[in-house]
């Protein structure tokens, strides 16, 4: 291990969210040994893996990546980015690679770039499954070939090993496919022999950048310093601070278990961790443990599902507002009947839902009986069907009912407020994650492909 702690500059919670130059300068001045961040997550839904598209705008990724590449080149330290392009599929990674090459050309940088691909071949996964090497995680059951086939793209979340191999081979810039956030941030310190429990825990604390600080609105990144028996974390913004509470509470975030985090080659256990304030902005953490376990990689697979067409109306009619649940039920019934009568069997496996914004759209539950009527509501109509054309045909068939449905039959026909013409909006398909499984591998590199672009030699290897 290098003498002294290993310092990792985590500039931002996710690439494209807004790296700050003054924070980079601060982190480099503290002697950072590497810059590491992830560039994605499953949080925003399956669309980005299914489509191979980034959630973040190209311009924002280019801006952040340019700042990191420039900083890395000036300081002579590696820049490590995982889960490129939001989902870390091959398309997502190649999109990011093209941006990096464009930046290098524009800034005159000549990094040696390692590209770590972890998208999986379906035939390979089927063979793994047949060999009993793929195990479900609750709540899903055993995997079948049909589920593999229905996915548009499948990735396996890498651990730190492919990154360490790339660093050891001299990479200046690593762009990784799907990787656990912690592996991206922890790989450099693990390579240097830092304490494993401290490294994984530090990486978890830092994975959302300034989210683990006392004022999450102040600044974007953090600096972690990992030693032989613990780690320290401080914000990159000098105006912000970390507290024992802000750091320990972050272990809870987006994590179903607050004490244990399963990683490809083991489990981080923070049950015995203790958090102390080193000064007014730095927290020291000790007692984190790493339990090695057989190597598994988590699989994520995204599939394109049925198509949706939506319509929106606004209602201020006091009679409707005083009886919204009744209105909802009657209207939904009438719309389904309308589809059965006018489209019939051809509608296929369709579904209509009405979400009453201003009343109960976010949950769909029934508000308590004494809830006063709102001043107005927006009603979102969502038709889901096998094709976009059928979803729109259903919306068109429902259009006159949805816009003019009377609460009581003997009432004059109302017209609710609709803001657009044409009234229907084709929303495209649904995207869903289909896999919640792990695959056992004999070697951490087995399902990973590394390729190199060495701009210092002006060629692609």
């Amino acid at each position: 291990m290098k003498s002294g702690p290993i310092k990792i500059l985590v500039p931002v919670g996710s690439l494209g969210a807004g790296v700050r130059e003054e924070e980079l300068s601060y982190g480099l001045a503290q002697g950072a040994h590497a810059i590491a961040t992830d560039a994605g997550s499953t949080d925003s839904g399956a669309a980005y893996l299914a489509l191979g598209k980034s959630k973040n705008n190209r311009g924002s990724i280019k801006r952040d990546l340019a700042l990191l590449m420039q900083a890395g080149a000036e300081a002579g330290i590696p820049v490590i980015v995982g889960t490129c392009g939001q989902a870390g599929g091959d398309l997502n990674l190649d999109w990011t690679k093209d941006i990096a090459l464009e930046i290098a050309g524009e800034l005159g940088l000549t990094p040696k770039i390692a590209l770590l691909y972890s998208e999986q071949d379906k035939a390979v996964l089927k063979a793994k499954n047949a060999a009993g090497k793929i195990k479900p995680l609750p709540p899903l059951g055993p995997l079948d070939d049909a589920t593999i086939d229905v996915c548009d793209h499948i990735v396996a979340a890498m651990g730190p090993e492919p990154y360490i191999a790339a660093l050891q081979a001299g990479a200046d810039l690593i762009l990784g496919g799907r990787t656990t956030d912690t592996a991206v941030i922890g790989c450099f310190a693990l390579m240097q022999g830092a304490h494993a429990g401290a490294t994984w825990h530090a990486a978890k604390v830092a994975e959302c950048g300034a989210q683990c600080t006392a004022d999450t609105g102040e600044g974007a990144g953090v600096l972690i310093s990992i030693g032989q028996d613990g780690f320290e974390v401080e914000p990159l913004s000098v105006a912000n601070r970390c507290t024992p509470h802000s750091v320990s509470a972050h272990m809870l975030y987006e994590n179903s278990n607050p004490f244990r985090l399963t990683e490809p080659g083991g489990v981080l256990d923070v049950t015995e961790a203790s958090y102390t304030a080193l000064d007014d902005r730095t927290v020291r953490v000790t007692g984190s443990r790493w339990e090695p376990a057989p190597y598994t990689m988590k699989l994520e697979g995204a599939a394109t599902g049925q198509f949706q067409t939506v319509m929106l109306i606004g209602i201020q009619d006091p009679d409707v507002l005083s009886r919204l649940d009744e209105f909802h039920d009657k209207l939904l019934y009438a719309l389904n009947q309308r589809v059965h009568r006018t489209i019939g069997e051809a509608a296929g496996d369709f579904h209509i839902s009405l979400r009453i914004y201003g009343w109960n759209a976010v949950t769909g539950d029934q508000p308590p009986p004494e809830t006063p009527p709102p001043r107005e509501v927006g009603v979102l109509f969502v038709a889901t069907a096998e094709t976009q054309a059928m979803a729109t045909q259903i919306a068109n068939a429902c259009n006159p009912y949805f816009f003019h449905f009377p609460l009581l039959r003997d009432k004059e026909l109302p017209s609710y407020g609709f803001p657009f013409t044409p009234a229907e909006i084709e929303r495209g398909p649904i995207y869903e994650f289909k896999l919640n499984h792990v695959v056992e591998v004999d070697d951490p590199m087995e399902l990973v492909r590394t390729s190199w672009i060495d701009l210092s030699k002006g060629s692609q290897a």
């Binding site: 399956a46 709540p139 899903l140 320990s248 949950t363 869903e432 994650f433 919640n436």
Partner: protein
């Protein structure tokens, strides 16, 4: 009658991967944490009733150092499905606020 919002200074909900939802109940101090952390009113049946969760997949973790209880459950419908209303499940905690603890 004591509700969750009476004894918690903060309650939040969030997806924990596409298949799980997690709630963090930050109690207002040691006393109420000790009194209510293991309350049966916050048991698996509550999450079955409110969210359609399978009680077998409801996990409950008291975290004494933070006076916090974390409760996680497996979603009954996948994130982003055709009946999705809250992709991050970030608003689901509101339904816990009025739960009566005693």
């Amino acid at each position: 009658m004591t509700t969750v919002s009476d004894v918690c200074r903060h309650v939040r909900s969030k997806n924990a991967g596409p298949f799980w939802v997690t709630f963090d109940l930050f109690f207002d101090g040691e006393e109420n944490f000790a009194k209510y952390a293991q309350s049966p009113a916050l048991g698996p049946q509550l999450f079955e009733r409110l969210f359609g969760a399978d009680p077998a997949y409801v996990q409950h973790y008291p975290v004494p150092s933070l006076n916090l209880v974390k409760i996680s459950y497996a979603r009954d419908t996948p994130q982003g499905g055709r009946v999705e209303r809250d992709m991050h499940r970030g608003q689901q905690y509101v339904r816990l606020l009025n739960v009566e603890l005693d």
